[in-house]
Structures are given as C-alpha cells and as structure tokens.
Symmetry: C5
Subunit: 358 residues, 5 copies
Amino acid sequence: MKKLSFKKNKKQFKDTEYEASNQTIIVPPKEVKISVIDYDADFFEEKMMDNLKNLYDYKENDHTSWINIEGTHDAQIIKRLGWLYHLHPVLQEAVCRENQRAKIDFYEHNIFVVLQMLSYNDTIDDLETEQISIVLGEKYLITFQEGKEGDVFDDIRVNLRGSSKQKLRNAGSSYLFYVLLDAIIDNYFLILEKITDKLESLEIKIIRDQASKDPTYELYEYKQRLMTVRKAIRPLRDIVGQLSREDNKIIRESGFYLRGLYQRITQVVEDTENHIEMSSNLLNMYLSVIGQRTNQVMKTLTIFSAIFMPLTFIAGVYGMNFENMPELKWKYGYLIVMILMGVFSGLAYWFFKRMKWL
Amino acid sequence: MKKLSFKKNKKQFKDTEYEASNQTIIVPPKEVKISVIDYDADFFEEKMMDNLKNLYDYKENDHTSWINIEGTHDAQIIKRLGWLYHLHPVLQEAVCRENQRAKIDFYEHNIFVVLQMLSYNDTIDDLETEQISIVLGEKYLITFQEGKEGDVFDDIRVNLRGSSKQKLRNAGSSYLFYVLLDAIIDNYFLILEKITDKLESLEIKIIRDQASKDPTYELYEYKQRLMTVRKAIRPLRDIVGQLSREDNKIIRESGFYLRGLYQRITQVVEDTENHIEMSSNLLNMYLSVIGQRTNQVMKTLTIFSAIFMPLTFIAGVYGMNFENMPELKWKYGYLIVMILMGVFSGLAYWFFKRMKWL
Amino acid sequence: MKKLSFKKNKKQFKDTEYEASNQTIIVPPKEVKISVIDYDADFFEEKMMDNLKNLYDYKENDHTSWINIEGTHDAQIIKRLGWLYHLHPVLQEAVCRENQRAKIDFYEHNIFVVLQMLSYNDTIDDLETEQISIVLGEKYLITFQEGKEGDVFDDIRVNLRGSSKQKLRNAGSSYLFYVLLDAIIDNYFLILEKITDKLESLEIKIIRDQASKDPTYELYEYKQRLMTVRKAIRPLRDIVGQLSREDNKIIRESGFYLRGLYQRITQVVEDTENHIEMSSNLLNMYLSVIGQRTNQVMKTLTIFSAIFMPLTFIAGVYGMNFENMPELKWKYGYLIVMILMGVFSGLAYWFFKRMKWL
Amino acid sequence: MKKLSFKKNKKQFKDTEYEASNQTIIVPPKEVKISVIDYDADFFEEKMMDNLKNLYDYKENDHTSWINIEGTHDAQIIKRLGWLYHLHPVLQEAVCRENQRAKIDFYEHNIFVVLQMLSYNDTIDDLETEQISIVLGEKYLITFQEGKEGDVFDDIRVNLRGSSKQKLRNAGSSYLFYVLLDAIIDNYFLILEKITDKLESLEIKIIRDQASKDPTYELYEYKQRLMTVRKAIRPLRDIVGQLSREDNKIIRESGFYLRGLYQRITQVVEDTENHIEMSSNLLNMYLSVIGQRTNQVMKTLTIFSAIFMPLTFIAGVYGMNFENMPELKWKYGYLIVMILMGVFSGLAYWFFKRMKWL
Amino acid sequence: MKKLSFKKNKKQFKDTEYEASNQTIIVPPKEVKISVIDYDADFFEEKMMDNLKNLYDYKENDHTSWINIEGTHDAQIIKRLGWLYHLHPVLQEAVCRENQRAKIDFYEHNIFVVLQMLSYNDTIDDLETEQISIVLGEKYLITFQEGKEGDVFDDIRVNLRGSSKQKLRNAGSSYLFYVLLDAIIDNYFLILEKITDKLESLEIKIIRDQASKDPTYELYEYKQRLMTVRKAIRPLRDIVGQLSREDNKIIRESGFYLRGLYQRITQVVEDTENHIEMSSNLLNMYLSVIGQRTNQVMKTLTIFSAIFMPLTFIAGVYGMNFENMPELKWKYGYLIVMILMGVFSGLAYWFFKRMKWL
C-alpha cells in the first residue's frame, strides 16, 4: 500500500507505532494462494491449488467456477491465467498495480472490475484498504485479492458449501458476483457504523463536557476517516450504478439485485456525506463553546481585578509613610476605611450582578 | 430502529433518559394488527383481522381495498400476503428490513414504495422515524407500518367512514395513495414548523441576550434535526417526482394531484435547506457576538488595570521605608500625592474615552 | 400569513412591537373588492363591482378584460368565478391557500400562475409577502390579491386609462400579463436596492469604526432578508423561464418580452446571491477586526502589567519592615531606587517598541 | 451608473473622496459623438459626424462600416439609427438602459450584444463599469458606448488605419467584431492582473508581518473587486460561448477565432474564482495568525503575573505592621526573603520553559 | 512565465531569494534545440539539428518521426515548421504564447494539444510550470517545450533507443502520444505525493505539538500549491477525457490506453480536491487548538490572580499605618493572618479544582 494520501497512515498518531515504523522491516514474500470452488445446484467441489495446471478443466465444464487468487505480486500466475481466460494485457497489469481508482470495463467475454475494499483493523485502530479485482464470465468468476488477513468472503464460501437448494447454488456466476459486491458494501456499512458510534460517544462527551482532553484531535481523525470512506465508495457507487443500468448478457440475470445494491450504496454515500457535514457542525459548535468559556474565564478574572485592585490601592494609600496624614490619627480611621472597602465591594458585586457577569 | 447515524439518539442528551437506556428493557413482541377497509362510492366495510384467511375475498371483489399491516416482524404474514398479491420475494424482504432509503419500484401489476415517515415524539422531545411500505394495485392498496403509536392515517380513515359523496370514496386506489402521501408530507410540514418555532424563539433569545445558558448546544441540536429531516425528505421528493412524471396506468388518474404534491414537497425541501443555512448564520452571528463580548470584558479589565496599577505603584513608593525620603516630611506631601493621583485618573479616563473604550 | 419560516417575523426584534404582538388583535374580515377594466385600442371601461353578476358580459365581448379580486378569503366568489372561467377545482383551492411556492400550470384555455410578491413595509421596517394568483386567457386576465395595502399595479391602471395609442392598449391580454409580471419583478429590484443601501452604509460604518453598537445583529438581519428575497424569487425565475420557452398560443405574442424579463430576473437572482455572499464576507471581515482589537487591548494590558508589576514589587520590597535592611539607611537609597525604576521602565518601553506592540 | 450593488462605491472608503461626493456636482450633458470608419482591403475612410444624415450611404456601399456612437442618452439618435438598421424597438430601449446583464439576441439581419466592460480608474483607485452595445450585420458593425474617458478600442482604430495587407482590413465585419470582443476581454485580463499584483504584495506583507495596519480591510476590498469582476465576466463568457457554438451566417467566418476567445475567457473566469478562493484562504490564515498572537501576548502577561504576584505578596507580608513578627528581627531575615524570592523566580522560569511558553 | 496569479511566486516567501529577485538578471537568449527521433520496429535514428532543412525527409518516409523543439521564442522556426506540417497560423501563435489554458483542437490532418506541465523545482522549493504543445499526425508527432531544465521525456527516449521488440517501437505515433501524456500525468502524481508527504509531516507535528513556529504559513503555502495543481490538471483532465471519447482516426488505435489514462487523471484530480479539503480541516482543527490553549493560558492567569490578589490585599491592610489598629498588637495577630491566608488559598485551590480548571 503506497502512502499516497495524507490520511492513509493515521496510525502514526499513536506514538509507539510511529517509532516502530522507522525501523526496517523485511517482509518475506507471501506465497500466492489459489483456490477453486466449482459448483452448480447438484455439484460442489472445493480445492486449494499450487499452480494453474488443472484450471483448464474448470473452464471447460458446465459448473460455475469461482477462482480466488490471494496475492497479486506473482505476475507469472496472472499472465497464465490471463492467457487462459482471454484477459487483455492491460487488465493483467491493472490487477497487479496497487491503489487504483475503482473502475469497470466491459469486454466481449467478460466484465472486469477493480475496486477498493475498506476494512477496519482493530490492531492498529485504523482503516485498511485492500484492492480486489474481479473478472466475471458467463461460467466463471475470478477474484484477485492482495492477501490481507481476514476475509470478507468467508461467509459466502460457507453458504456455497451449504444446502444445494439455496438461490446461490442454483443461480449462475452473475448472482455470485452480486453476492460478493453485496458483502463488500456491507463491510462499508459496518465501518461507517463503527466511526459513527465513536462520533456519537464523542458528541455526548463534548455536550456533557466530559471530554477528558482536547476532543479536537479525535474529531479531526474521525472526519479524515469519513473522507477516506467517501473517497473509496464514490467510485464504487459509479460502478454499481453502471452495472445496474447496463444491459449486458453476462449480468442481465442479476440486474434486479444490482439495482437494489445501487440503492443501498447510495445510502452509504449519503450517510457518509451527512456525517462529514455533521462532524463539521460539531467542531463549529465546540469552537463556539470554547469561545464561551474563555469569555467566562475572562469575566472571573475581571471581577477579581475590579474588586481587589481598588481595595489594594486604598490599603496602599494608608500604608504610605507621610508624616502628615491626619486620617491615620483618627480614632476610627481604620474602621472607616474598612467599612468603605466593604461598601465598595458590595457596589462592585451589585454592578457585576446587573451586568449579568455573576 | 438501528442506531445507524449519529443523529438518531439525540434523546441521550437528556441525562436521565440516557441512564435509563443502559438498563436492559425487554419489550414483549407486539402482535401484528391487520385491518381492512373495503369501499367504493356505495359500499363501506371496515374489519380488524387476526389472520389472512379472508383476505382473498377482498382481492376478488370490485371495491377498493386498503389493507393495513401494523408490525413488520412476522415474516410469515408478509410471505403469505406476498404470495396473494404477487409481491416479488425481494420486496417481501424489503418490507421487513428497517431503515432503508426511500425507494420506488414499478411492477406489472403494482407499484411498490418504501419511505421513511418522521414524527415528533413529545415524550422524548425528539424525532422518530417509522418506515412505511406501500403496495399500490389497481383495486387495492397495502400499507405496512412498523407499528409505532400515533397514526398519521387516522384522519383518512375517519374521512372514508364519512359521507359517500366525497371524492375519496368515489375515486379509486390511486387517489387513496395520493391522500396517504399527502398526509405523510403534511407531517413533515408540521415537524419543520415545530423546529422552526423553536429556532425562532432561540433566535429572539440570542438577540435579546436572554439565552439562559449557552445556546450553542440547543442550536446544534436543532440543526442536526433539520439535517435529519433533509436526509429523510430528499429521497421522498425524488419518489414523488418520479411518480408525478411516470405515465403508469395505475396512477395515471391521480397524476394531476401528484404533480401538486411534488410542488409542495419541493417547498419543504427548500425550506429545510434554507433553515439549515440560517441556523449556520445564527451560529456565526453568535460567535461574533461572543467575540465582541470578550473584547468588552477585556477592555473593562484593561481600564481597571491601567488606572489602579500606576496608583498602587505610587502608593507603594511612598510606603517605602527609606530614611531619607524628603517628600514624606513635606507638610502637603500627602495632599500633593493624592491630587496627582486624581489628575492621573482623570487623564486615564479621558484617554479611554477618546479611544472609545468607555 | 402563517409563521412558517423563522425569518418571517424579524419585526419581533423591535421590542415594543413584540410586546404588542402578544395582545389579541381582532381584525374585522375585509370585504372582497372586485374591479374590472375592459379595454381595447378604442374602448375603455373601469368598474368596481359588489358581486359577479355582470361578469359574464365581460367574458363574451371582444375587449380585453382585466378582473382584479382583492381578498381571497371568500371561497364562494372564487368558486363562481372558477365556474365562469373554467378554472379547475384544484386551482380554485390554490388561489385560497396562502404561502404557496410559486408555480405555473398550463391548461387548454388558460395559464395559471401563483407567485409571491415581496414588498417593503416601512411601518414595521420589514419585508411583507403577498400571494398573487393570475389566470391568463386569450381575452381576459384575472388577478387574485390577498388585499394588502399599497398596490404595485396602480401605475399600470393609470397607464391603461391614458392614451389609447400606447402599446398596452393595443396589445392583448398577454402583453398586460407581461406588464404585470414586469411590475412585480421591478418591485424585487426596489427591495434589493433598499437592502443594498442599508448594507452599504453598514459597511462604511464598520470600516470607519463608527458602528454605534454591535453591527452583527444588523448584518444578520439584512442577510436573513436577502435570503427571504432569494427564496421568493428563485421559483419566480423558474416560472418566467418556463413562460419564455413555452410555445403556447396564449402567450406567444409576448414571448419576446418574456425572454427579456427572464434576463432581468436572472440579474436579480444573481445580485441577491452576490449580496448574500458579500454579507458573509463582511461578517468574516468583522470577526477578524474584532480579533485584531482584542489583540490590541491585550497588548495594552500586558504592557501596563509588565511595567507596573515589577515596579510595584520593588516598592513593596523597600516597604518591608525588616530591621536589618542596609539600603534603607543609605543616603541616596531612595534616589537610586527611583533611578533604577526609571531605567527599568525605559527598557520595558524599548522592548515593547521593538516587539512592535507600541 | 446606478448604485445597485453595494460593491460599486468602494471609493467611499477613502474619507476625503467620500466627503467630496456629498457635494452636488452638476455635470453638463455630454454631446453624442458619432464616428464612422468605412473600409475594405483597398479603401479606408474615417469621419466624425454631427448627425446621422449621411449614414445611409455607408449602409449601401460594399465596404465594412464601423459606426461608433459615444453617449447613449440621446434617444432620438438611437431611434433614427434603429430605423435605418432595422433594430427592434426593444433593442433601442436596451441600448439606452444602463447596468444591464450582458445578453445576446440573434435577429434575421443582425446580432445584438450588450455587455459590461470593466476598467480600472486609477484616479479613484476603483473599478468602473461601462456598458457597450454592439450590433453586428453582414456589412456593418455599430457600437454604442456610454462615453467614458479612455477607449479600449483606440488600438484597433490605429490598426485599421495601418497597412491594408493585414487580416483586419481584409476580413469582414465579423472579424472586426471578434477583435473588439478580444480587446474587451484583454481588459479583464489586465484588471485581474492589477488586483492580483496587489493581493500578492499584501500576501507577502502579511506573511512577513509588515502589514502597517489591519490588512483585513484591504483584503476585503480586493475580494469584493474580484467578485465584481466575476459578476461582470460570467454572463460575458456565456455570450462568447453561445457565439462560438452558434452556426449563424453573420459570424460563421470568425467561428474559429471565437472558439479561441471562449477558451481565453474561460481562463479569466477560472482565475477569478481561484483568486476569490485564495483571498478567503488568506483571510482564514490571517485569523489563525491573530489567534496565535493573542495567545502569545496572553502568555507574556501570564508569565509576568505569575512571577510578580507572589513576589509582591511576600513583600506585602513583611510590610505588615504587626508588633509580633519574629522574622523581622532576624539578622538575615531580609537576605533570606530575597534569596527565597530569587529561588521562586527561578522555579517559575524553569516551569514556563518546560511548558514551552518561553 | 508571466506573474499572472498570486500563487506563482511562493518562492518570494524565502527572504533571501526575494532580495535577489530585485536585482536585474540578464538571461542570454537560449538557442532553440531541435531533435528528431525517427523509428519503426526495424529502424531507429536520432539526430540533433541546427535548422529545419532536412526535416522534409522525415515527413516523407514511412517511419514514425518525433520532432522535439526546445525553446518557443523563435517564431521563424515555428513558422517554417507550421508551413511544412500544415499548422494553422493561429496554432503557430498558440505555440509561442505562454501560460495558456490547456486546450485541444482537431484538424483534418493532425490533433493539436497545448498543456501545462508542472514540475517541482527543488532549488527554489516551489512548483514550476512549463507549457508543452503537441502536434500529432498519423506518421509524426511534434513537441514544443519552453526549454526548462530537466526533461520528463528522457525515459521515453531511452526506451525508444532500447529493444525493438517493445510495444513503443511497434505501435505508431498515437501510442507515442499516449506515452508522453502518461509521463506528464505521472509527474503530477509525483508532485501530489511530494506535497502530501509534507502535509503529512506537518499534520503529525501539529498533533504532537512539535511545530517549531506558527504552522499556519506552511499550511497556507501547501494549500496554495494544491490549488495550483488543481488549476493545471483540471483542463488537462478535460482534454484527456475528450481524447478518450473522440473517434478520430489518428488516435483510434490508442483509444483503449487513453481511457485508462483518463481514469488515472481523474484519480489525481479527486486526490487533489480531497487534499485541499483536508488541509482546510487541518487549519480549522488548529484554530480550535489555539482557542483551547488561549483558554488554558487564561485559566492559569485567572487562578494566579484570584489567589494572590486577595492575599496581597490582606497584607496591604495590615501594612496600613493607622495608629488605632488593635489586631496589630495582638500577640498572635501575625500568625492568625498567615493561617487565614493559608485557609483562603486552600479554598481557592479547591474551588478551581471543582471548576475543573486545574
């Protein structure tokens, strides 16, 4: 994952991690995992493969084949697969290149989709992107993942292995395609909910004035994350929109589902934008609250000064050492001065009361 | 109602309720209420039903039937109803799923609408959402409600029971459909008016400086509510717009009314957006007012300091205990110093007057 | 006029009026005034009528008839008129309902326009809305006014009564329609100019720092008014735009004039939006000015404190009553301390001069 | 020039001018100047005329005639000219009316353009608007100017008088039209550059903190000017865009040049909008800088108070006149107190150093 | 490069450079460098030329010729080249004129593109613009550069010289055109990454409060640069978009690549806009942080004042020289006062603790 935008490594905010990231870490190249699930209503086969040798069989048979490639660093495998499934060389390149904008291309025999999947990594308490490329043919579907841990597609695999009566086993590859997209978009929903929950509790903290420290940093971080979500999901919405309008024979069968998907993703986009606007509102509100408080502090200071400065001055006057100060010799001089000071304090109190400063 | 957006539980701001929400409350599952109103110009029948047995009769006859289902948690009932009225399985699912974006689908025999109804719950002093799904056929109309208390459709029922000469009894299901939408949109109008009234009185309070506490929280809350209204009504406007343009045989008869409805809903949307902008203006204005006041407080403080600091210093000087301080022995030393202090105060006063600080 | 938006009763800002508005005022229902002007190049007749009896004659003849109804509370009159001139029942209702969004409807025999006219009421120093509905037929034009005082159409009546050679007398009803719209839009121009003049003088006051009190409230009020103007004129522009593009036989003759009108109204809209943006700029500028001033006040305070606090401290030190303080017995102790204090003040002055605080 | 928008008389900011503007100035009505330039590749004639008598000759001949009318207050002249060149009465009126939005109308025999020309008046240090109307026929071009001093078209006249081999003399009226528009748009470029230069030097001043006074007013003034430019040039761009797309026989010949012109004017519009956004950025940056400085000043004040208040208090304690204060009689009492004070100051210094306030 | 926009010379912020820029620097006119690369799959020739004499040969042969002209100040050369390759005179002019908005023109025999290339000049630590004009014919491609140092096309030349089997040597001029555009857009990516890296480290500094000085200036500078990038790349995106949609025979062959390019440039534009928005967020966050800190400083000041002002006052009271002050003679007067002061301080501490100021 290249550090392209200045919101990708929010994790650096946590000091310890940041220090660590300065050390050189040598990651051993992961192996590419190839798995095939071949199924129709009556048949189910699941296999992990080391190489692409037997893949040709899956292409020829009548079942729907879902080939999943984890790890996109081995250009050889992608090249062979590309040759087998008539993938344009540019697409082969696109599969390998990271951090691309989500896009869709329609070919004669297949549809090619690149998209960014967001997931919330609890370990580093930050968002993670994983690029997924999908090639959809009439009888097959190939998915390329970068190979991060945790897989959003596991539930779908479990479903496939399950009862042969369910729709997923009976419908073709385009329905599988829809189910995959659905899982990805569901993930966005979950992330949005996670950020929203944190924003909500921050909101309550701010309003009850229980925010332990300056909540600005936290608010800023959540807003940046929401913008990351928006950045990732907007092109995804365009793609789903295009899919739901396209009259392509490969996806025609699932058009109805894709239109529903488009409505759901539109909701995610709208919610994200709403939340961004709301976090701006929250910051503005907080700015006003700070202004209010500074004002309050200033008033306290001014009241203290306005009361004690004159008093101290009077005390200072009668602390002067002039030989000829008649008041000093009066019997009740001290008493009178003390009473005067009391009266003055009372007046000041009344004045600030009337000014509504107290 | 899932907590999806961080504006849904403003109620948590009231402390007591918040505490309460931490307790586990067990809500006994409500029963599903099914009611049927079957009518035309000459005929009127209203029935509460326990199950769907006799529903088939209503489908077959020539009257317009309005079937209202309160409670969408019983999938069985929806399934049977779906089978009876040819509802697509996806629609059956949509009826049950909460918190969806308003949407419309046109089928061969019916029109399917999902929309969010907002209502103002006075008990918790906050907005509440209820999802309503409507299926409109040529001779029937089915409404699915979540089953909240208070029903926006009661007036319509009263009307139906009334004189058989009114338009509602003589026109078909599409006019009933229009009347239902009209009632829902009227509700938005009422909510908007409620928020607006509160905003107005807050505005007057701020301008007269009678806001008891920091009005920022209140302003923020109203703005969030307005955004909730906007979020709910925008997709609703799209739907009414689509209905008013569509040349579908089921709603053709009421096209004229739907176009009028579209103009009304457009007004609600515009008003909401105007109010959001205005509450932003109000906050900005208040920020400037706070700035002004802090400035005023600072001036008061500075004037006090600028007058009393030098005076206290002079008093301090003549309070020093040096043996050789000739002024101390002058007969009018004390008087001269007091006069000098008076003159200095006068000059300071004149200076601040000229600076327009007083 | 319902209180729908929180900008309608700015008049409440003036306290006295507000108190007054709490009293119950019983307004006797005004009578509906009906006036007819029947004219062509050679003929002119003007009549005030009590009822609609003779209206049929005006419909049948070949002259252009302008029927003006002041007061829309009498549904009976509108109903009869509607029957006479084939007005759709929905339109009859629209005429009576207040505070509608401007709209236009094209019918077979006439064009129906509802619009909001703004006028500046000098008595309450605020904007007032009046709803005007216009029905335009080939030989007649009906205007419905709420019946506020002051009439923007008086000039047009005077013109009609005048020379029979002018265009207004020779052209048909559609030209009269254009002239009425023109008068209404001219009114917007006047209001905009009025607000602009006030904004200008406020701007100059702010820049010269002559604003007697906090100009924020005033600025806020003008901005709200500009938003009221924008809210009213935007739908009006849409209507004029639609009229200028429509190829309807009733208005075809005046299409050229309506296109010109559209350009003028576009200018009003653009100017209004420009002014709103500018008043935002003005507020931002003022915020910065306040910030600047607070900064200046703080500097004054800090300079005073920084000079007198150390001086007072030194004086305090030599005011201590220790028995063993050798400096107190020096012959020039007092002089030395005073000189030291002078030098210190000089240094402080030089320091603040270099810091550019003075 | 009517005072329509509150940005037209920025000149009033300079006090002296403002005072002057309160005096009544009687401007003698200027005479209308009519000049004709009649040319083709082989022929050139330039004439100043008192009246329109001989204008008919120019219309009939085969040369391209450029008729320039300076001063639009004489409706008679415009009427006669209108009659001669088939100008619609509405256009004749449009020529005379000031402060119109730029617009274009296509007629059978000519194209009519009204546009606002901006120029920078160095005397009053402000922008000035002049309305120019252009009528373009196949063999003629008529320009109407308000008759301000300084003429943006002088260079074009000089060019026309020059070599007969240049394109301007050989191409027809539409090329002349393009050249005139080009000169006007060039003027916008110059104005934009002028404002930009001032903004640049203000920016540098602010960043180096050399802004003699509050730069806010200046910044505000430049922003208002940029908005004036934007307001004037946006409709102009629409016009040039329409001209560049229109397939009208009168301008077809110069379509290529007009498309180039459209690209240039688009650049001016984009630059203007960019600059408006940038001046907003500059103000925001300045606001933050002020906040920073106030913070700095506050720290200085707090440091002084925090050091000297306790010291003064201690001195005050030992200045008390209690009879029984044992410390006062200690031999090193004074020394000890002074040392304690020194230590305390050191600690305070160290504390503020650690807090990074110093 | 004309100083057209006030963001072009950010370099002036560094004082030393600014001084230098006031000195007159005489730049000797650079010579125009002409280079030709003539190639196809089997053939490769590269030549530097002094004049255009032999260029005709390259035009006639069957190889793809890439003619690169560095330096656009010699109008003669451009004229001759224009005559040779049928360039419209307006294009010849466009090549020479600096600082144009990116544009594209389609002609019968060639496509003409003008675009602005941004590069990061490390010496002056600022962005630099260079205008590049490209003429694309079926068998040739001409590039005109201003002749700045550092060449983004060098890699492409190296590639051309390399293996004859690669796509670049086998495809025609339109593929070369795509590769050139690709290199230019890659450069934008690099610049964006550079600014982003700086923004990121500034962000971390701000959040950890390690920003040595006021980070506002730096933030402002980066934002201005991002706006420069946006200004340059938006028209470029329009051009690539037009190229990718156009069905022109000259570029048809590379349409597929150009569509991919369009997706990449869209990503750059979106990222730029995202970053601009984010730097605004960062500034707002920083403003709130400053407000917070000022608040904190004020609290410190107020606490000091609130504690020491009353204490100093009490000390002042007992420093008064009244003859009749009974307390002064009490045995434990001094002790009692000291204890009272201690108690008072304790109460004040407790009070501020409860107010959460400590």
